[in-house]
């Protein structure tokens, strides 16, 4: 046993090229699998987390108001207060297409949304400076605005200086009462049209800026106890809307958590596909290893013949070859794992995602490559070791 082990190590060492090529196949296979899985997992968790930050407790309602059948803000608020057990907040959201002007400068990319006093809580934002839109502003259709930090810094230098200034929307002046905290992640620059380039005004004021003057979008937030049961709540909302519209094509109720579920399904499918790709790269590596083992079989058959002629027993020879294959492929596997882990981290840094090697795949790829090495190291050796020594010697 110890003998076979020594012989195997010596053989690996004296056949550096062959051992290296065998290992290389396994290294590439294992490293490829680990890096691939790491990147895709990182990408997926990035997607999931950015999706989750959109708020899994939200339900958005989108209606198509007709002149004959429509739902008013008051009806919506009545429904909201009748079903308080489900909801924490409600805000109409009115997207406005208008020109924002500060002094003579146009700010084309700034998004304008008409919202209620709850909107800050719905978005789970905090204020940098000032106050948010209040119920009184809405009731009185006050021309007040809350702006994103990008707007504040670009046109007024600081959030502090922006407070009290006027900003013009389609020519109407709005007084800035508050600035929302930075939303862009700290590693990125704030940019035009980005997550900090926005303007909130009371929805009552915003409605005046839209073409048909109706409110088509609402955002509810669910109580924590109902986040998991979002579909129950969606059907309550749908029932309510159906009673008004009598046609389920005229409204759409979307729970973010359900969207997240379907995205998770998609991600699961992607991982499955990924598994397929990883499997193929391991297979390719395996075929490479097999080739090298088979190509060297003539030389090895002669070697086996010599060893048998000099008195080596079949079992001793097989042991040597099995250990040799095991050591080569496990060394290749370990190097592959190290390279794979380093590669994953580096790729994660470059792609700016949190890519991490997956433990399960490390084990799986290691086991598979190890078995490939063992099988293709052992099989040719076994047939050679079974030969008469003289037949083995004669092969060339």
């Amino acid at each position: 046993m110890l003998n076979s082990f020594n012989l195997a190590l010596k053989s690996i060492w004296s056949n550096k090229m062959r051992s290296f090529l065998t290992m290389l196949g396994i290294i590439i296979g294992v490293a490829a699998v680990i890096i691939l899985v790491g990147i895709v997992n990182g990408e997926m968790s990035y997607m999931t987390s950015s999706f989750a930050s959109m708020g899994t407790n939200r339900i958005t309602v989108n209606v198509t108001n007709l002149s004959s059948r429509s739902v008013s803000v008051d009806q919506m608020y009545d429904f909201y207060s009748d079903n308080e057990e489900y909801f924490t907040y409600l805000s109409p959201t009115v997207s406005v297409n208008a020109t924002v002007k500060v002094g003579n400068e146009n700010s084309d990319q700034t998004s304008i949304t008409g919202v209620s006093e709850d909107y800050l809580d719905i978005m789970d934002y905090d204020l940098e400076k000032g106050r948010f839109i209040q119920y009184a502003d809405i009731a009185a259709r006050q021309k007040v605005a809350v702006i994103g930090l990008y707007v504040a810094q670009t046109y007024y230098e600081t959030a502090e200086k922006a407070i009290g200034q006027r900003i013009s929307v389609n020519g109407t002046k709005y007084q800035i009462v508050g600035v929302v905290e930075r939303q862009t992640s700290s590693s990125d620059e704030m940019s035009e049209g980005g997550s900090d380039d926005f303007l909130y005004i009371p929805y009552t004021a915003a409605v005046k800026l839209t073409r048909n003057g109706t409110i088509n979008n609402y955002t509810f937030t669910l109580r924590d106890s109902y986040v998991e049961k979002a579909s129950t709540v969606t059907s309550v909302i749908e029932d309510f809307l159906y009673s008004i519209f009598k046609n389920d094509d005229l409204y759409r109720v979307t729970a973010m958590s359900e969207l997240l579920d379907s995205m998770n399904d998609m991600i699961a499918q992607m991982s499955l596909m990924l598994g397929g790709i990883a499997g193929i790269s391991l297979l390719v590596a395996g075929v490479g290893v097999m080739n090298i083992m088979l190509v060297s079989v003539t030389e090895r058959t002669r070697e086996i013949g010599i060893r048998k002629a000099l008195g080596a027993k079949k079992s001793t020879i097989l042991m040597q070859f099995v250990i040799e294959a095991a050591v080569t492929s496990s060394m290749g596997g370990v190097i592959g794992i190290v390279i794979g882990c380093i590669g994953t981290t580096m790729a994660g840094k470059i792609m700016n995602i949190d890519a991490q090697p997956s433990f399960g795949w490390i084990i799986a790829s290691f086991t598979i490559s190890m078995s490939i090495g063992l099988i293709f190291g052992y099989m040719p050796a076994r047939s050679a070791a079974t030969l008469n020594p003289i037949d083995a010697l004669r092969s060339d």
Binding site: N3, L7, K10, S11, S14, N15, R302, E303, G305, I306, R307, K308, A309, L310, G311, A312, K313, K314, S315, T316, N388, P389, I390, L393
Partner: protein, 315 residues
């Protein structure tokens, strides 16, 4: 003994017929044991010399008939009454090539005793290597009995045969058969390694053998870095390392020039003087004559088995 005698005379008469047929029609000398494409330009190298064979056979027959009646096989005088080291009884090795059968060994019976130096001679394709492989337990005969130290090899398992090869036989191959990637010391260590000798002792004993063949200073070199003669000396060292009773050499000088051939022959003679049994295979009569005893093989049969002196007189 009676039965053996009967067999002997039977095969003898069979051989006579063949000898007659071949001498009648020497132009049609193509037989199964020779390369059919052997070129006519070099007849003395590859073609069998039928006159010589006939003479050898006649001499054998005469000595068997006139000698002690009980003797069916040649036994060197000094070994009469001893237990043979090797006993080959009616060994056949038949290769099937499609529908054709090649009798590479066609009923060979010889006894070899401890301390002998036997040369097995014969033309190319006569079956020398086949015989050596059987003697070396590298191959098994198609039929016939082969005993080492009175033990029948046919009943032995693969592993038992491996042990016999390891402990009792040292091989010197025409092609050297050194492991190309191991250094000389490791190559010489191999038989000891498989004998389970401790590492330190392996090295020491292997080194002693390398010294004996004059290559101790090159122990860390690879076989490819040596000349043919040097490689053959390494394989001699390897054959001797395990201290086997029998040294088997197949054309040990086949790939060497005459000077290195002499040197290798010298080693074999020394080994024999030290008490080892040496069986050497060669196609070259002049080299065979260095041995004490010569077995001449033709077409897979023994046509002469006797002392080197008698053989020298006949050819």
């Amino acid at each position: 003994m009676k039965k053996q005698m009967a067999e002997q005379s039977e095969s003898q008469s069979h051989e006579d017929t063949i000898a007659k047929v071949s001498s009648d029609d020497s132009s049609a000398s193509v037989n199964a044991f020779q390369d059919s494409d052997s070129e006519e330009e070099e007849p003395d190298e590859y073609a069998e010399n039928h006159d010589e064979i006939a003479k050898l056979k006649a001499a054998q027959k005469a000595s068997r008939n006139s000698g002690e009646k009980s003797q069916t096989l040649y036994i060197p005088k000094e070994h009469i009454g001893e237990l043979p080291l090797l006993e080959l009884h009616d060994i056949y090795k038949i290769y099937k090539m499609g529908s054709e059968e090649v009798h590479a060994n066609d009923g060979i019976s010889i006894n070899i005793y401890t301390g002998e130096f036997v040369a097995i001679v014969g033309k190319s394709g006569s079956g020398k290597s086949t015989l050596m492989n059987i003697i070396g337990a590298l191959d098994v005969p198609t039929s016939g009995k082969y005993l080492i130290h009175g033990q029948d090899t046919s009943s032995m398992s693969d592993d038992e045969l491996a042990t016999i090869r390891n402990k009792k036989i040292g091989f010197i191959f025409q092609q050297y058969n050194l492991l190309p990637r191991d250094n000389l010391l490791d190559n010489v260590c191999l038989p000891l390694l498989y004998a389970g000798v401790p590492k330190a002792e392996q090295k020491e004993r292997a080194m002693r053998q390398l010294e004996r063949v004059g290559l101790a200073d090159k122990w860390m070199q690879k076989p490819a870095q040596l000349s043919g003669g040097q490689q053959q000396r390494v394989s001699i060292a390897r054959a001797l390392a395990g201290d086997p009773e029998l040294i088997l050499a197949d054309e040990p000088t086949g790939a060497l020039d005459s000077k290195t051939s002499r040197q290798v022959l010298g080693f074999l003679k020394d080994i024999n003087k030290d008490g080892n049994t040496v069986v050497m295979i060669t196609h070259d009569n002049s080299i065979a004559l260095e041995a004490k005893r010569i077995v001449r093989i033709s077409d897979g049969k023994v046509v002469y088995d006797g002392t080197a002196e008698d053989y020298a007189k006949l050819i």
